[in-house]
Amino acid sequence: MNPDASTIAAGAPIEVDLSPVAEGQDIKVFWRGKPIYISHRTKKQIEEARAVNVASLPDPQTDEARVKSGHDQWLVVIGICTHLGCIPIAHEGSYDGFFCPCHGSVYDTSGRIRQGPAPSNLPVPPYQFVSDTKIQIG
């Protein structure tokens, strides 16, 4: 009952062009049926993400570990709440990150869990920069 061959083939890597995404904006793309949020973060958002004491987080992880160095403004996360799989809404909640409307989990500008029942941060999908304005997810 595991995924069949066509489902696996359809889950091959995809390329996303980032050039139309302005600072402060984000886009949602689908990969393997999952929504992937790609946020072009502002300076303020990056600073907020880096100013917290990592040890105080429920799932400690630095912002640097969650983005690709040299491309710090780009946050790429799987937009599925780690609690029970709803899609969080971007730019909502008290940490200017993501807010899940189902059971009230709040994520910060680095997609890390800050408040609510979700056990861990929004996962970062496997991806790399093909060029400065293009990434490959998968």
């Binding site: 595991n2 489902t7 949602k28 393997r32 929504p35 709803c86 189902c102 029942p117």
Partner: protein, 690 residues
């Protein structure tokens, strides 16, 4: 099923079979000669009611499966086509969907009855555990059935529930992938759920056979909790229990029919009339009502794994009930303390159910935690403790003694229950205020609709005018894709003739093809064609309308609702109020205001609407006075347009509503007569036994 039978059929053909397979003897000893305690009350008829419901679900389900398509792109539409085009499809669908709820109503009564009268105690432990297994199977079946229509709640309910398994350490993620058959809930998930939804009811039927077998070996419990000793304590199953069960089933069918014919959508969620969309999570994900107490337990625990464990634990704990409650006295009738705690437990379950439907914030979270503790405390603290400290009242020597002493029974005042109910009442009252304050949009005002109530019919004039408003105004952005031109000439609709519907259809250009040259071409519409949509796909609709796709209007009056709140949702069952959708749509069309109130900011490209959730709507004010001309002299005002087009859209959402209500009346007349007949027959049969 209890031992060899000495039954001999008189017919020689049956005798021939009986010698080779003693099936008639089995039937005779199980359902005819079987001794049943003579003091059983009506709570004992729920076993028969449950068998009836299981049969009903399997029968309607098998027929529905003949018309249903288990594919992510087609499932939603195929359900709509069942309701619209299959002969009595609306009836089958309502019977099956409402039947699931009624099945759970009956099973909860049955379980609480077992709890109250101690039916799980020695020697009925296995019987009880088999019952818990049936209940678990029912929950799985019900959940997978709810996924099949592939609406928004189906999809997101499936996502949330399958994700519960990801909480299991180490193997959780692989289990979830196995359930999905992919990387997320999708077409493979729908396919396997359909397969399992078809399989599980037959497993249930199998376990029911074991359940009945165990029942007939151990014998039925009874309200006094003393085992039958002599023949005077029992009566033969047929005709005594049979006729009583038939009366019980007839009464239950009245309730069932009330929902099938008059309130088919009351127990469902409006969001499930919106096709599944993996990109948008509905603001409130609420499971079906029968899972709500367990959902509340899940949400009240802030840790994911612990929450899932608590939720499943709340059901599994029932298996251990025979050993948690060691009291020798079975029936709570003779246990003054256990009786009171039982009723408190019932209230706790109902309150948990109420909380499961509320947003997880503020007072609801705190209340949920308190009640979760109460739920588990009942099983883990109260029952074990009571069996040690409680002094039960003396039980009668035998069932016949109990029946004779019945006249002298006194009712205990249940003070604690009254206090608890009062507390619950104030909790409800408090929660309404907070809920009202937190909601941003105004409640739409009620309207007088010609189609409301048990004898409601559509106003033909309003339907025809509403069609005109749709055609001249709405149709430039909104589709009506489930309505074919032929529907306009069908009974219970706008009342056009077949020729008029054909003429109406021919005014439209419909895309067809490919022709022999392989090209698509346009031709005049025919009655069998559906209303063409203004945009080729959702993305085009979105792009042309500033990012918000205008929804298809076929189902809009059933897909929109607003929260009625306590206590209105209880009154609605009796008043048959189910016009939230039409009230909302008509209010929305008139809810535009030029002046934006203070404190509300409306983004560029949006408009202020008093009744739209969040107030910022992308649709500009669609109607203005005098915009559409009416031939019948009706006022050409926005209010009239709104009302007419809403009536029309109510018909598009529920084209067989008139047939439904008409048949409902006939069914009610029949059922009331049937139940009366059963009641008097039952009285006659039991006259000698009382």
């Amino acid at each position: 099923m209890s031992g060899p039978s000495d039954y001999q059929p008189s017919n020689p053909a049956l005798q021939w079979i009986e010698r080779r397979l003693p099936i008639f003897g089995l039937m005779h000893s199980s359902f005819v000669a079987y001794p049943t305690p003579r003091n059983l009350n009506y709570w004992w008829t729920f076993g028969a009611i449950l068998s009836f419901m299981l049969g009903m679900q399997i029968l309607t389900g098998v027929i529905l499966a003949m018309h249903y398509t288990p594919h992510a792109d087609l499932a939603f539409k195929s359900v709509e086509l069942i309701v619209r085009d299959v002969n009595y499809g609306w009836l089958l669908r309502n019977m099956h969907a409402v039947g699931a709820s009624m099945f759970f109503v009956a099973v909860y009564v049955h379980m609480f009855r077992g709890l109250y009268y101690g039916s799980y105690k020695e020697p009925r432990e296995v019987l009880w555990i088999l019952g818990v297994i049936i209940y678990l199977l029912m929950m799985a079946t019900g959940f997978m059935g709810y996924v099949l229509p592939w609406g928004q709640m189906s999809f997101w309910g499936a996502t949330v529930i399958t994700n519960l398994f990801s909480a299991i350490p180490y193997v959780g993620e692989s289990i979830v992938t196995l359930l999905w058959g992919g990387y997320s809930v999708g077409n493979p998930t729908l396919n396997r759920f359909f397969s399992l939804h078809y399989l599980l009811p037959f497993l249930i039927a199998g376990v029911v056979v074991l359940h009945v077998w165990a029942l007939h070996v151990a014998g039925q419990n009874n309200p006094d909790g003393v085992e039958p000793k002599t023949e005077k304590d029992t009566v033969p199953f047929t005709p005594h229990a049979t006729i009583k069960d038939m009366f019980g089933v007839a009464c239950f069918m009245l309730l069932y029919a009330w929902f099938i014919f008059y309130m088919p959508n009351y127990l469902g969620d409006a969001d499930n009339y919106i096709p599944a969309n993996p990109g948008v999570t509905p603001p409130h994900i609420v499971p079906e009502w029968y899972y709500l107490p367990f959902y509340a337990i899940l949400r009240s625990i802030p840790n994911k794994l612990a929450g899932v464990v608590a939720m499943f634990g709340a059901i599994i704990i029932l298996c251990f009930l025979p050993w948690l409650d060691a009291a020798k006295t079975k029936s709570s009738k003779y246990r003054p303390l256990a009786k009171q705690f039982f009723w408190i437990f019932v209230v706790v379950c109902i309150l948990l159910g109420y909380l499961g439907a509320q947003p997880p914030e503020g007072i609801y979270v705190v209340a949920g935690r308190v009640l979760t503790v109460c739920y588990f405390a009942y099983f883990l603290i109260v029952l074990p403790l009571l069996s040690r400290i409680e002094k039960p009242r003396p039980v009668p020597n035998s069932i016949s003694d109990a029946v004779l002493a019945k006249t002298g029974s006194r009712s205990t005042p249940m003070v604690s229950t009254a206090i608890l109910l009062a507390l619950a009442g104030s909790l409800f009252a408090g929660s309404i205020d907070s809920a009202k304050a937190s909601e941003g949009s105004d409640t739409p005002p009620g309207n007088k609709w010609s189609f409301s109530g048990p004898f409601g019919t559509f106003d033909r004039g309003a339907l025809q005018r509403g069609l005109k408003v749709y055609k001249e105004v709405c149709s430039s952005c909104h589709g009506l894709s489930y309505i074919a031109f032929r529907n306009l000439a069908e009974a219970g609709g706008p009342g056009y003739s077949v020729a008029q519907a054909s003429a109406f259809a021919s005014e439209y250009k419909v895309k067809d093809g490919p022709n022999d040259a392989g090209d698509m071409f346009e031709r005049a519409g025919r009655p069998a064609d559906y209303f063409p949509s203004p945009f080729p796909n959702e993305q085009a609709a979105r792009a042309a309308n500033g990012g918000a796709a205008p929804p298809d209007l076929s189902l809009i009056t059933k897909a929109r609702s607003y929260k009625r709140g306590f206590p209105w949702f209880i009154f609605d069952v009796f008043t048959q109020y189910q016009e939230q959708g039409p009230d909302y749509v008509t209010a929305l069309l008139q809810g535009y205001e030029e002046k934006v109130p203070e404190g509300v900011t409306i983004p560029e490209g949006s408009y202020y609407n008093k009744y739209f959730p969040g107030h910022a709507i992308k649709m500009p004010k669609p109607l203005s006075d005098g915009q559409v001309t009416y031939d019948d002299g009706s006022p050409t005002t926005v209010a009239q347009y709104a009302k007419d087009v809403t009536t029309f859209l109510m018909w598009t959402a529920e084209p067989h509503m008139e047939a439904r209500k008409r048949l409902g009346f006939q069914v009610f007349v029949f059922l009331i007569l049937f139940a009366g007949l059963m009641y008097f027959t039952k009285k006659k049969v039991w006259a000698s036994s009382h």
